[in-house]
Amino acid sequence: MAALITHSPILIIAIPLLAAFLTLPIGMASKKARNALLIVSLAFVTFLVIILARDISINGIHIYTLGATSPELTLPGGAMVPIRIILEVDAMSIFMGIIWATVSLAAAIFSLSHMASETGQNRFYTLLLLMVTGGFGMMFTGDLFNLFVFLEIASISGAALIAFRTRFADAVEGGFKYIVISAVAGLIFLFGVGLLYAQYNSLNIGFLANAMQYSTLDIIALTLFLVALTIKTGMVPLHMWYPDSYTVAPANITAMLVITSHACMYAVFRICFSLYGITLDATTVGWIIVIIGLLTMFVGVTMAVFQTDVMRFMSYHAISQMGYMWMGVGVGLAVLGNPEALATYGRDAISGGIFHILNHAMYKPLLFMTAGALFHRTGTRDLNKMGGLGHNMKFTLILYIIGTLSIAGIPPLNGFASKFLIYESVYQFNPVLAVVAMLVSIITLASFTKAFQSAFTGPQLPEYKDVKEVPKPMLIGMGILAAGIIFTSIFPGLIVERIVNPATDALINQAAYVNGIMGGGMP
C-alpha cells in the first residue's frame, strides 16, 4: 500500500492514458470487456485519488519526480534547479482531483446507455479517457510547460468529443469553435511560459515562484496567462464560444467539459497564488478577477433565462455559476496583502469560492445529464416542444429538482452553503457585490422554474404519451452526483473543515508550495 501511495500521482495520470490506448484493441474484440476496462480503470483511479487525499491530509504536499532515484528528490546531486518533470500535489490539487475522478466515473457510467446507439464507441471511450488524463495532469503538475501539454491533451480530446455526433451539423461547428479557441488560448499561454523561461531558465512553478521579480515581462506573462485561461474557463466577455460548443456535445461529455473549465480556473488560481504570490499586485489582480466574476454571474444568468434550448440554457447557467467562484477567490486575492482583512473575511471568501467549485461540480453535471436524459427520450433539446414529461420520467424529475434547488442556492441544499459563505464574506469587502450575487440567485431560480414548467409539468403531450424513464446506467450516473449533493448538503461543516479549508490554506501558503520543490522535496 505504501508503494501505491508513493506512486499514486503518476498512476492517476498513467492509468487512464494506458486504458485509452487499450480501449481500441479490446473494444474490437469485445464490447463488454471494453466497458469493464473503462469503469474498472476509472474506479481504480478514484480509489487512488482517495488514498492520496488521505495521505496529503496527514503528511502534507506529495511530490513525485519522474526519473529520480527517489520520487521526492527534486534537486538531485545538490543541483540548484529542478530539471525533471515534477508532479506537486497539495490539498488544492487533490481537491480538484477528487472532483474530476467522481465526475469522470459518473459520466462514464452514464455514457454506457446514453451512447449505446452511437457508432464508433471505441474511439469515443479512447477520447474520454484521454480527456481524463489531461484533466488530472493539469491538476497535479508542478510545471508550467506540462500544464500547457495537459491543457492541450484535454482540449484536443474535448473538441473531438464535442464533434463526435457528426450527423448533427451544429456538433461539428461546436467542435470547430472549441478547437480554434483552445488552440489560440493554448498558444497565448505558451507564449507566457516562454517569457518566464527566457528570464528564469526554468519551467517549474515552485522554482519560478522563488525567483519571481514581477518585472515588466512578468506582468506581460501574467496578462497572457490570465486572458488565455479566462477564455478557456468561459468567463464574460470571453464566453461566447462556450454555449455554442457545450450545448452540442453529448450530455456526459458536457458534464466533463464543465470540470475541464474548472481545471482552467484552478490554473488561474495556482498562477496567481502559487506562482506570483507575494510579488503580485494582489489588489489590482483581485479586483480584475472580482469584476470578471461579477459580469459573468449577471450576463450568464440573464442570457440563460432567455434560452429555450435546454442544453444552451444549462451552458449559460454553468457560465453564471463560475462567476461566484471567481468573485469569492478574487476577494481573497484582493486582500492577500492585508493580513487582518484576510483573516476576517478573505480566507472565508476563498473557501466559499472553492466550496462552490465542489458544489458546482456535482449539481451542474447532474443538470446537464438530466437535460441529456430529456434529449435521450424526446430527441429534441427545444423546451418549446416538451411538456408533461414528469408523468413518465419521475426519477429524472426528482434528480432535476435536486439539481435545481442546489444551483439556485435554496436551503438546505449544498449550493446554499457555499453561496452563504460567499455572500457573508464578500459583503464585508463590498456590499454591492453580495447584492448582485443574491439577485443572480433569484434569477437562477426563476429560470430553472421556467425549464421545469416547460419540460416536466403540464398535461401529457400526445407525442410523449409512451415515453419511458431513462435506462438504469443513466440513472446510476446521475444518482452518484445526487448522492454527493445530499451528503454535502447535510454535512457542509465536515466538507469545509476536511477538504475545503485545507485547499484554501494550500492556495494561500505560497511558501509551502515553493518549499515542496526548493526544499529538495522535504516538506
Binding site: K177, L226, P237, V285, F306, Q428, P492
Partner: protein, 111 residues
C-alpha cells in the same frame, strides 16, 4: 455546521424547522373543505368555451417571462446582438481582453 464572518449555517436545524412547518401546513390542510370533490372542481373552465386539447393548454417556454424580456429590451437587444456566434468576433474579444488587462496592470503598477 459552517461559520461565516458574521453567522453560521446548520442544515440539520433548518431541516427540523422545515419538517415542523410542513406538519403545521398539513394540519391546516386537514381542517380544509370536506365537500371538495376531486375531478369536478379542478376541471378547467374557460368562460364556457370548449376545452382545449392537452398540448394547447401547456404554456410554452418562449412565452414564459415575456414581460421581463420586454421590460429589459434595452439590455437584451445589444447583449444578444453581441453574441454573434462568429469565431472571428470571439477572437476580437480575446485581443481586446489582453489589451485591457495589460493596460490596467501596467497603469496600476506605475509602468
Amino acid at each position: 455546521m459552517i461559520e461565516s464572518p458574521s453567522g453560521f449555517w446548520g442544515p440539520v436545524v433548518w431541516i427540523i424547522a422545515a419538517i415542523v412547518a410542513l406538519l403545521i401546513a398539513y394540519f391546516i390542510q386537514r381542517r380544509g373543505e370536506k365537500a371538495y370533490k376531486k375531478g369536478v372542481q379542478s376541471e378547467t373552465f374557460l368562460m364556457g368555451n370548449p376545452k382545449l386539447s392537452e398540448g394547447e393548454t401547456h404554456v410554452k417556454a418562449h412565452n414564459i417571462y415575456w414581460g421581463f424580456f420586454e421590460g429589459l429590451k434595452k439590455y437584451y437587444v445589444p447583449t444578444i446582438t453581441a453574441h454573434t456566434g462568429i469565431i472571428n468576433d470571439h477572437l476580437i474579444w480575446l485581443i481586446a481582453g489582453i489589451a485591457i488587462v495589460m493596460i490596467i496592470l501596467f497603469v496600476a503598477g506605475g509602468i
